[in-house]
Symmetry: C3
Subunit: 355 residues, 3 copies
């Protein structure tokens, strides 16, 4: 499995270099680098988890919570450099609705086919539900709505919101890793169990080396990917928003998607939720603020102001998932509902593209 992935990654990297330097086709270049990122992202994820396992539960949890979506961060920074602000916001949107509706929905559905009713930790689900309400339902809504009325001071608002989100995210880590660790203990147990079963792959130094190499390669591929977004948009008639919501969001998360569904199949719903909802919170309350501060440092700040379709999609996804999660149970129908909601939104963004 691991070897297969390494070979796949190597082939895709060579292929994308050939396509790029042979000036074959920009469309091809875009898709080849997109596909190349998928195994690289998976390897970064495995390396991060291995380092986290060696670092012990607390430092390890911190590592996962900050480097877990590094690919999205890298693609985001390259997009900022190219001034593709709507691509950045669209990929945040896509990541949030994709994780919440598609990944969680597929996990509930696939897990629910095998197990009639699946249970998960209610306290964690409730904590996550409240975080989603704050991190998306308030932190993304306020700048968008308030900037409709007032054009000035937008950066002040984005700055305040990004700072608050980041602080609460860090407090949330402190909560789950220190003051209320016992509530989240099952996740460590499950991770430890996974380790015993040989699911953690690397020793410390090889893992660090792998992380470094994979990060560099992802950066190169991201640069090529983002550099072709505009020509793709023109060539295929897709909008930046559609590319961000669907393409970019999928490639950064493909590996996580697979493991969330796999955990659900094995009836480990807490890990499944941790991946899907934890990823969402990380994008909303860590990646998005960090991208904002990065853009500030780069001297070309963007605002955390979303379009109506993006905002409504994210809020609707959050509200649906809050209702689905708050009972501490899932079944295949709940999964089907979430996937159905994702399809509705995907069709929506598809119809926007040709506008």
């Amino acid at each position: 499995m691991n070897r297969l992935m390494s070979i796949f990654a190597a082939v895709m990297i060579v292929l994308s270099a050939v396509v790029r330097f042979g000036h074959v086709s920009q469309t091809l270049e875009f898709f080849v680098s997109a596909v190349a990122i998928i195994p690289l992202a998976a390897m970064m994820g495995q390396a991060t988890e291995s380092i986290a396992a060696h670092a012990g539960p607390r430092l390890g949890g911190l590592l996962s919570a900050t480097f877990g979506n590094a690919v999205e961060l890298i693609i985001g920074i390259f997009s900022l450099q190219q001034g593709l602000y709507s691509l950045v916001k669209a990929s945040i949107t896509g990541s949030i609705i994709g994780n919440l509706l598609f990944v969680l929905g597929l996990s509930f559905f696939i897990g629910g086919i095998r197990h009639p009713i699946q249970y998960f930790n209610l306290r964690v689900a409730r904590s996550n539900a409240s975080m989603l309400m704050l991190g998306v339902g308030i932190a993304f809504v306020v700048p968008t709505i308030f900037s409709m009325t007032s054009q000035s001071n937008r950066y002040t608002l984005s700055f305040g919101v990004a700072a608050v989100s980041l602080v609460i995210y860090i407090l949330g880590l402190f909560f789950s890793l220190f003051t209320h660790r016992e509530v989240f203990a099952y996740i460590e147990d499950a991770s430890a169990e996974a380790e015993e079963h040989g699911e953690v792959k690397y020793r410390l130094w090889p893992a660090i080396l792998l992380l470094l190499v994979a990060t560099v390669l992802v950066s190169v591929e991201s640069d090529w990917l983002v550099g072709n977004v505009k020509s793709i948009a023109q060539g295929l008639g897709w909008s930046e928003v559609f590319i961000g919501v669907v393409v970019v969001a999928v490639i950064g998360n493909a590996a996580e998607h697979a493991s969330a569904v796999w955990m659900a199949w094995k009836n480990r719903m807490d890990l499944s939720l941790e991946i899907a909802v934890g990823s969402t919170l990380q994008v909303a309350m860590f990646i998005a603020p960090v991208l904002f501060f990065t853009s500030l440092v780069m001297g070309n700040p963007f605002q955390l102001v979303f379009s109506w379709p993006e905002l409504v999609s994210m809020v609707a996804a959050v509200l649906l998932v809050v209702v689905l999660m708050l009972d501490g149970e899932s079944n295949w129908l709940e999964g089907a509902m979430a996937v159905g909601a994702y399809l509705v939104l995907a069709v929506g963004f598809y119809t926007l593209q040709s506008a």
Copy 2:
């Protein structure tokens, strides 16, 4: 009771024919056919339930879930024929807020006067809550919000949304009738009990005959009703939206309203919820998509795009009812809140009429 209703229906049908062919008054014609539909709708409901009881729990559940709101479907189709698109959408809106707030609220209130706290099945309530979030909170919101940005491709979006809603509705039936039947078992038990107490009225063939005759008569009356909407709108200064939200929505549901409240009075809250919330889901996820596909076949498609007041009313009603339901309990104050919310919305639609 039954005989009384038959006589009432017969009198109203004769009366409406006299008014129509005697060219007495269009206003009178509108109201007489509206009143005539009420006992006919009740008879269709009884016939459907009797057939369902004979067909066994699964096929029977399927029948109730598809024919239960046949009157709304018939009125909807006649409205489409006349091109009264805003009437169709207003009556969908009225049916949803009427069932969720007025019927459920009155059931909670009346039941709560007799029983301090009433309980209902939490799993069913949660499943219904999630379905409402998807079927109204996402499926109706997305086309409306996304079409604000882009004018093109609207039918694509309505098509996708209608298809997804319908598929999830059918999966929901499969869930409650097959894979998770035991969760919903109490409803069958209660129905069986009702049968023993002589509440099921007809044998199979008389029931089928009754259903056919009542359907034909409802169609005739619906044709007359809808044909006079425009002159009524002019004559009384009511808007199509107000007529749809209040008048059409009430006449299609009057019989169900009565039985939901009656069930609550007898402390059978699960049946009461089944009628009120089940009806809402049927209108949102079955009638609305079927009307959309019908309009497509008729070559004159309408979009599932609602006005802001309609959309906000439905979403607010769903959110309030989700909060009311998720505790698995009700009392008279919760009922008063829902009825109060309905009154606020009704006043709102009334003030729109003269605009």
Copy 3:
């Protein structure tokens, strides 16, 4: 403590009279009267509670529920007299988000530092959650959204909404004081306990006298405060909305804030919630309707139509707090989330000010 507060109040009153009649500065006059109101509001609160304790649980509950936010009512009426409608609505907004997010959040946070998990009565929390959905999520949303479409008949809508809110609020009192008193019994118990510990301060007649005197003084100071809002707005570049949301909302509630947090510290979460959420409901469903009817009687009615930022802030605050409350538990992270949400909104209103 009490003596200290009386001396503080006396000093501030004298000071504000000197500033006013000495024509020192309008800015100073505004702030001095603002500060003077804080101890006076606290004294009115103590007097009301003492009278309530003497009046027995039912009449007492009624008294607290109607006079508990008398200061806000007084400031509101003086604002109406001056035609400062946006100040009135902004102070309603500020009072709601301040009580729900800042006061409740700080209570959860401070209480949670000492007690890992704190519990409160689930039935009361759910009842309050539903009331918030109705009193803010529907009663404030409908007039604002519906008036976007239709300009006429706005007062009809505000009238209907105010009447329904007031009736449901009164029914809610009837529910908690009469028909379902046992559900709320712990609050009485806790009050009785508080009384034993000497927390109730005055005998009946001194309390009534104190209430009268403090009310007159608050009225005088409110008149001076409100009279300087316009010059403050010009002088400091603050908007009426910012002054209402932040300044006016804080001074009317400072004493309550302190006692809610104090109760949380003592692990009496039910009393803490009662103060924070009870106050919110009182402002939304009692003060706001009474102010509307007062404006009607004064012949210069205002509408219950809010700006988008105000409306979205209140709805987002309600939804977050509903999710936080519905589990019947709190911890310091939940508190931090609510305070974080308040900060986001406060920054938002700050950026509006200079627009």
